[in-house]
């Protein structure tokens, strides 16, 4: 899968409380969650961001709570991908389970806010200007899961096949 989009930079340790503050967690509606995405850091972010834009983070992106509302809020804004130096582990699982792609690459310090980048998710190659960087490969087990359409599709298939051993 190939993506092209403008980048929005957020720094190190972007926690799920800033991705989507807990006061909005009474809702499970992606539209509502998207409207408040990154609100504590930049309340106008949901208005400024465009479909296909990409978030770039530093270390430990998605740390804190296990709220799956966080990847849902990001996806609701049409953002298909987050590239960061590293990800917090619960966010990492949640993102793939929800269909938000994540790539680990150390490009935060070299890229300008608003710059356009192109990314080949399957090879992990990230290009901007004259630069090209290869992201850390996605673990084979995660690739398998993605190819099956995520954890829930994997489960649905198993249940339809009547495989109660799962």
């Amino acid at each position: 899968m190939k993506l092209k989009g403008r980048v929005w930079k957020f720094g190190n340790n972007i926690d799920t409380d800033v991705i989507i503050p807990a006061r909005y967690l009474s809702s499970t509606d992606p539209k509502v969650l998207g409207e408040h995405c990154m609100e504590p850091l930049d309340p106008s972010f949901p208005q400024k961001v465009k479909e296909g834009d990409i978030i770039i983070g530093g270390f430990n992106f998605g740390c804190g709570s296990s709220r799956e509302h966080a990847p849902i809020a990001i996806l609701a804004l049409g953002i298909p991908l987050v590239i960061a130096k590293s990800f917090a582990r619960i966010f990492y699982r949640n993102a793939f389970n929800k269909g938000l792609a994540l790539l680990e690459a150390d490009i935060f310090d070299e890229i300008e806010q608003g710059e356009e980048i192109s990314v080949d998710i399957s090879t992990g190659v990230i290009k901007w200007g004259s630069r090209e960087v290869k992201a850390k490969p996605i673990p084979p087990f995660m690739v398998e899961l993605i190819n099956e359409g995520g954890l829930i599709n994997h489960l649905r298939k198993k249940l339809e096949e009547g495989n109660d051993k799962i």
């Binding site: 340790n13 009474s26 489960l155």
Partner: protein
């Protein structure tokens, strides 16, 4: 090569003799937990997959503790959905109304988690049960659905980091100060994806309440789990509570650790994590002129009886500063009752505190103690991220109960020796 306690528990639940770090395994689950903000998403996924039942209605637990007593119509609707789902699928472990307590204080107290378990919970502080010698970790709602339906989930076997703790505990210093010290030392991603294991004579001396507080904040260092050896204290805690038979696992002496840290707890003084990361840790005595508007004593980290005892000891015959709201949140109904029997509630009320029903409420900026723009709070909770307790320009300082109680009296952050 030997194995760590975490590796042994995961191997046993995957039906294997041994596992290696980094290996992906599928493990049987002993318990699946969700709360009133994570269960609704999980139930939506449950409907999507077309599941007809949960794997074992006795091993699925719902605790309606975050936005309860319900703060608004959507949160009330969410709780209603969980109650209806539980009735439909025969789930009896639903903690609601007067039975509700803060999940990670409640489940061990109810004996729902026993040593050697593998537990997943759609709440990041599920790692708390490591205090009982169980493997427990937080997951998202979708992973929880998978667990609820199949009774299994996949895990990458984590590397382990050992914290060997020796020395004599100083007055007022608790497990909270130790874990804040460790997070300050290794950083909020210092244990990313790893297991944090505690050992040493200073750990043997620690109460279960302090061990729960330490395991609880493993996630604040990015860890997958925090875990303790099962000893006499664990067994005496579990004796009259444990609802299931259990197996005790112990790390081998030649187990592999990515790193080993040695901590002399005798050198630890009371700690405060300053805004806006749990790793921004300073000694309470080095902070001055930080005026507070609110003190919160409670949460899944520090809302247990030992915490309330320490706060009551400091607040006895004292008054909360006139411009401070001091909110006390006993974590469970049993802790609430015990605090009442021991006279702590009277002490708190006479000191001018507010006593809240058990709820996660203010810790995550949900309700029952939200901060206005520019306000500051000292809290015995676990996160001090930007806007965590309310307005994005409010600030949270994290501490143990002694510093929080002393600061409530003075109106600024202070070491309890200045008050007592």
């Amino acid at each position: 090569m030997g194995m760590t306690i975490t590796e042994k528990i995961l191997a046993a639940h995957a039906g294997k003799n041994s596992v290696e770090c980094g290996e992906i395994i599928e493990a049987k689950l002993d318990l699946c937990l969700a709360n009133d903000i994570t269960a609704p998403l999980s139930l939506e996924e449950f409907d999507k997959v077309g599941a007809k039942k949960v794997f074992d209605p006795e091993r699925v637990v719902f605790v309606l503790d975050h936005f309860t007593p319900n703060k608004d119509i959507p949160s009330a609707e969410n709780c209603k959905k969980i109650r209806e789902f539980s009735k439909r699928y025969g789930i009896s472990h639903v903690y609601d109304g007067g039975a509700c307590g803060i999940e990670h204080a409640l489940l061990p107290e109810e004996g729902l988690v026993v040593p050697g378990d593998v537990v997943i919970g759609a709440d990041s502080h599920t790692c708390t049960y490591g205090a009982l010698g169980a493997f427990s970790t937080g997951v998202g709602s979708t992973d929880l659905t998978y667990g609820m339906v199949t009774g299994k989930n996949w895990f990458k076997v984590p590397e382990s980091i050992k914290f060997y703790c020796s020395g004599i505990w100083q007055k007022w210093v608790t497990g909270k100060d130790l874990i804040l010290h460790i997070i300050g030392l290794i950083g909020v991603d210092g244990a990313l994806y790893a297991s944090m294991e505690y050992d040493g004579e200073a750990i043997s001396k620690l109460s279960m309440d302090s061990r729960f507080a330490i395991a609880n904040m493993a996630i604040e260092a990015g860890a997958k789990n925090g875990i303790f050896k099962v000893d006499e204290k664990t067994l005496s805690y579990i004796k009259d509570r444990g609802k299931r038979p259990f197996t005790i696992f112990e790390s081998d002496s030649d187990a592999h650790y990515r790193e080993v840290y040695e901590v002399d707890v005798g050198k630890l003084d009371l700690k405060v994590a300053c805004p806006s990361l749990p790793s921004n840790v300073k000694d309470a005595k080095d902070l001055s002129d930080i005026r507070i508007d609110q003190a919160v004593i409670g949460s899944c980290t520090n809302g247990r009886i030992e915490d309330l005892a320490m706060a009551a000891d400091i607040l006895k015959n004292k008054q909360v500063a006139s411009d401070v709201r001091c909110i006390i949140i006993p974590a469970t109904p049993k802790i609430y009752l015990e605090a009442m029997r021991r006279g702590y509630l009277e002490t708190f009320m006479k000191a001018g505190c507010i006593i809240s029903p058990p709820t996660c409420g203010p810790c995550l900026g949900g309700h029952m103690g939200i901060l206005a723009k520019g306000e500051k709070a000292i809290a015995t909770t676990n996160r001090n991220f930007v806007g965590r307790m309310g307005h994005p320009e409010s600030e949270v300082y994290l501490s143990g109960p002694a510093v929080a109680a002393a600061s409530a009296i003075k109106g600024f952050i202070i070491h309890p020796s200045e008050v007592v």
